[in-house]
Every structure is written in C-alpha cells, then in structure tokens.
Amino acid sequence: MSIASTNRMTPYLFLAPAGLVLAFALFYPICYMIYASFLDWNPSQRIGEADFVGLRNYFKLFGDPAFRESLGVTLKFAAVVVTVEMFLGVGLALLLDRNIRGMSVLRTLFILPMMIAPIVVGLMWRYMYHPTVGIFNKTLKSWGFDGVPWLSDGDWAFASVVIADVWQWTPFIFILSLAALQSLPQSAIEASKIDGATGWQQIIYIKLPLMLPVLIVTLLLRLIDSFKVLEVILVMTNGGPGLSTEILSLRINRTASEFRELGEAAAMSNLLLIVLLILTFTMFIYNKAQDARAARLRRVEEEA
C-alpha cells in the first residue's frame, strides 16, 4: 500500500471503533425494530418463529381508535407543555437577566428540577397530588376548599402531568434563553435605550428578535423530548384515568408488555421515530440555513 492511500485511510481507521459501537448499539436495534414491525410477534416466540404479515400492523394502527387517541394526547401534551414552558422559561430569563445580589444562587435553584431523575419527579408529584395526604389537597382543605381530583379525573390528570413536566423542563428553556440573552450585543441594547425604547420595547424589538435563532433550536429540542416523555407519566397516572394521559411511549410500553403485541409496538415506535426524524431534520435544515446565511454575510463583508 502506498503512503498516500495509507494516509487517506488513517482517519477512517481511527473512526472505526466508534463506528462499530454505533452500528451495534444504534443501527442494529433500529433495523431489528423495523423488521419486527412487519411481524405478528408474541413475546413467547423467538423472532424466527413469528409470522411475516407485511404492513398489517401499520394498517391496524390507523384503524385503532385507542392509538389515535393516544397520538392525539401526545400531540396535545407536546403542544401545551412546550408552549407553556417557552413562555415561562423565556419570561423568567428576561426577568432574571440582571445583576442583583443573590441572582447566581437563584439561577442555580431554578435549574435544580432538571437535575432530578424523572422517576423521582414522578413519585414526588404523585405524593403531592395524593387526594388525602398530598400537600395540595391538604392545603386546599385547610383553607376550607374542596379537594381537587388531581389524578383521578381525566382533565385534571392531564393538567397535573402538564404541570409536573412544566416544573421539570422550564429550567431547560430558562438556562438556554438566559445564555442567549447574556450573549446579546450589549451596545445594541444600550443604543435602543438611547433611541427611547421602554423595557418592553427593548424586549419585543431588540432582545427577542436577536434571541430567535436560539429560541427556535430550543423549541425543537423540547418538542422532540416531549414526544418521548415516559417515566413521569408512567409513575403518576400510568396513562389513566381511561386514556386521558396515555401518551404514545406509554401506549407502546403497554402494547408490548400488557397486550403482548411486539409487532404492533414496533410499528408504533417506528411512527414515533418518523415524527421525531421530521422534527430533527427541521432543526438540522434550520441550522444549515443559518450557517449558510452567516457564511454568505461573511463573504459579503470580506469583499467590501
């Protein structure tokens, strides 16, 4: 082998171990899942014994009202939590982007929920929502109000899981927004003050537009994550009452473990994967477009 071709090979050689791990840990399970979605497969069978049924699992899904409801719950959940979290997170960041005493402690406190394991978050909230001994109902009762059926009424249960998710994930948007805010050109903000902008006008006309690229990426990241949420809801409501909080990942879990339909569960997983892939690609394309724009502007600048 010539030196030139050895040199060309070198980078691939170094990348090979990582590539192997990736192939084994990522591509193999995905291919396995795609293959499984074409099978009528029961957990008691080995995969080779399962019958090949083509696209039947997929057709069955679209005809299944429970799946459609679950998909609806997932979309509703994602839309609600991401909207609420964006408003709260960005709002908090705008509020706390100032240098007053104790602000660094406050900032650290705000991001604590994000560091707690989801199972623990689920358990914590379940106890707080407990109809008799939970802190919410106890407090309400001590004030003379009736208790709220936090987890036993469909609408309340949905609101309850939304609140728990918002509690845990608003900090994520908060820290990214705060970082974006603090990297904004200070002089542009000062210029807007001189130009006569009030605090609100600075936010609307200067800060938010300049933060927008970060906000869009943050939103997409949160959206992807909210489609995959499982543990908190599993612990809090296990999808109930009825199907009111049964998001897709929970439905997949139940289809596989409770209904013992591995093929159908795989088909559902694939659909979820496609949705997430679309979101991921949107983010990817958005980033590419941003980079291309930056590169174009740099070129213009160099020519000038």
């Binding site: 542009a188 210029a191 003050k193 001189i194 130009d195 213009v300």
Partner: protein, 357 residues
C-alpha cells in the same frame, strides 16, 4: 439647545472611585472633546451623561434640568457608539428610523427624514441592507445616520472612529467636522486620539485618573498647557522634557541643564523670580527648535522622514531630543547640527506639582 453643566459629578464602582468631583461647563452648540489615556474616566463621564451609567453623586444639568436620575430616553440625546451598536436584525432604513418609529412619528415623515439623512451620508443605495452586509465605513455612517435622523438636543460620540483604518478615519473625521459646522448642536466626543481632539473640538477637556487636567480651546492647550501632563499629551511628536536649574545671570534668567543654557524672555522674569536657584522641568516642542548658528550643537542619531517635515532624534547631554525640521536638505545620521531655541517656545513646570510656571 441648552448648555450642559456637570456639577461635582462622582462615580464609584463598589469601593473603587473612578471619578471624583468633576465640574465642567459646555456652552450651547459647542463641540466638546473629552480626551485622555485609557482608564481616565472619559467614557464613564460620557456614559453618565447618556444615562447608561448611574451617577454616584453630583448633578448633570442640561439647561436648567437636572437629568442625572432620568432615563436615557428622557434626556433628549443621540449617541454614536464605538462598535456602532447597529441592530443586526434590521436593515439600514429600519436602523435609522427606530427612534422615530418608537416616537410614533407619522410614516411618510419618517420616510422623508430617513431618505434625507441617507442622502447626505451616501447611504441611499444601502437602505435595504442589513448591517452585516456593509463595510466598516458604511456601518459607521449608518450609526451617524441613526443619530442624525433624530432632532436631539445633544449628540454623544464614544470613540466613533477608533474601529476604522487610518485612511477612512481621516475621511470620517473631515465629514464629522463638516457635519458639526452644519448642525450647530451640543456635541460631546470621547477619544484617546489627540489629533482627533485637536481637529474636531471647539473645546478640549484633557482627563487623567478621573480628573480634569485642563479644559480649553485647542490653541490654549497647545500654546499654554496648564501642566506637564497636558503638555506631553497634546501635540505630535510629543514635547521634550529636560531637567534644568534657573539662575539669574546679569539680569537674564537662564535655564541651565546638562549641556545647554537657554535664556528666558524678560516677560517671564516676574513669575520666575521665586524659582531662582531651584530645579525645574523644561518642556520644548519638537517644532520649537530652529536650525541656525550660535545654538546648541547636537548630533543626529536618527532621522524620520515624514514628507515635508522630518523628525530628528538627537541627544542633548544624556537625554534624547526630538526635533522637527523642514525636509529641505538631506540629513545624514551622525552629523552634528546647531539648533536655537526661542525663549517663548520654552515651557516650564514645577517638578513637584507638575503645574506650569
């Protein structure tokens, strides 16, 4: 347009005092330049006037209004920043019209005003461009335009030319000077460049460590600097400083030092009587030397040809001296030349207080 007065202005950052008891008056329509080395408090002073920096003590009076506790927008001023501070997401027209739009000026008026100003600044072709698509000089002009579209009473400039290359800087300096003649408004300009200060200012305020060293017209600062710092800061090449002793020789006051004796004019006799026999610092500008017989003999160590003028580096005793001469005859390094100094080109400073004598 009102006059501006700073009264007992003070600024602390925590326990650190950067400006103490600053007093300054700027007449109506005057172009005032704050100049000094970095860290002298000139930018802080400007930012306090703008309202971007809080005031620890004292008052900022614009006319008969104390604005020191008001928001920037209530002070009726426009400002040009060192890094231009354009809004990156708005095009040139939007950048320039931002203040007018906030003031809810009517749309067609805004458009006329922006077009007018853009035309005077040669920006008409770029109104649709974003700042990132402009060159440094164009951005600079947009920043100027943004200040100009507003009919503000006071214009503040925070080192607006320091990010430009030398050629563009000269060009923009001239444009600024023309602009300030055209619109007679209060202008306060911060720079560390004494050439900019001299060419632009009606009044120059030299600052050091948060204190005003001297305030006056460019001629005053150049002709009669109040202290050694101002003498050394204003003028290029910088003034030569020598140690000397004053003595009375047959009724003439002489400044004697290492290898020289310069007679001082009779007009200063009265003021210098008290310092006879004492050490003083003597300052002579490079342009204060004239070539001619009967003067000080000095060897040429280095000759810097600038064009019409050359700066010679020479030696008087053990001290290096810069001398500015017309570049007529070729100058050879190593040759000895004779220079006379007129007594009224000599500045004298107290070695302790550094104040001019």
């Amino acid at each position: 347009m009102p006059e501006i007065r700073l009264q007992n202005l003070r600024k602390d950052y925590g326990a650190v005092n950067v400006i103490e008891n600053l007093n300054l008056e700027m007449a109506d329509g005057e172009f005032t330049v704050l100049v000094g080395p970095s860290g002298c408090g000139k930018s802080t002073t400007l930012r306090m006037i703008a309202g971007l920096e809080s005031v620890t003590g004292g008052e900022i009076m614009i006319g008969d209004r104390d604005v020191s506790q008001l928001e920037p927008k209530e002070r009726d001023l426009a400002m040009v920043f060192q890094d231009y501070a354009l809004y990156p997401h708005m095009n040139v027209a939007k950048n320039m019209s931002f203040a007018l739009r906030l003031a809810r000026m009517n749309k067609s008026d805004i458009e006329t005003r922006v077009k007018e100003v853009a035309a005077t600044l040669d920006l008409t072709a770029y109104l649709d461009r974003k700042p990132a698509e402009l060159s440094g000089g164009q951005r600079q002009r947009v920043a100027m335009g943004r200040a100009l579209v507003r009919d503000a009473g006071t214009f503040l400039f925070d080192e607006p030319l320091s990010n430009l290359d030398a050629k563009l800087r000269g060009q923009m300096r001239a444009e600024l000077a023309l602009m300030s003649q055209r619109i007679k408004k209060n202008m306060i300009y911060v720079t560390h460049d004494q050439v900019e200060a001299m060419t632009l200012g009606d009044k120059i305020v030299v600052m050091k460590f948060g204190e005003i060293m001297q305030a006056g017209t460019p001629e005053e600062l150049y002709r009669s600097p109040a202290n050694k710092f101002v003498a050394g800061f204003i003028g290029s090449p910088t003034m030569n400083f020598l140690n000397a002793e004053l003595s009375d020789e047959d009724g003439v006051i002489m400044a004697r030092g290492d290898g020289f004796a310069i007679p001082l004019p009779d007009s200063r006799k009265g003021a210098l009587q008290a310092h006879k026999g004492r050490n003083i610092h003597l300052g002579i500008r490079p342009s204060g030397f004239a070539e001619g017989p009967g003067g000080l003999k000095m060897p040429v160590i280095l000759s810097e040809y600038i064009g019409a003028q050359s700066v010679l580096i020479s030696k008087l005793g053990e001290q290096q001296i810069a001398i500015e001469v017309n570049s007529v005859a070729p100058i050879r390094v190593g040759e000895e030349r004779e220079f006379t100094v007129q007594g009224d080109e000599v500045h004298l400073f107290d070695p302790q207080t550094e104040a001019a004598l």
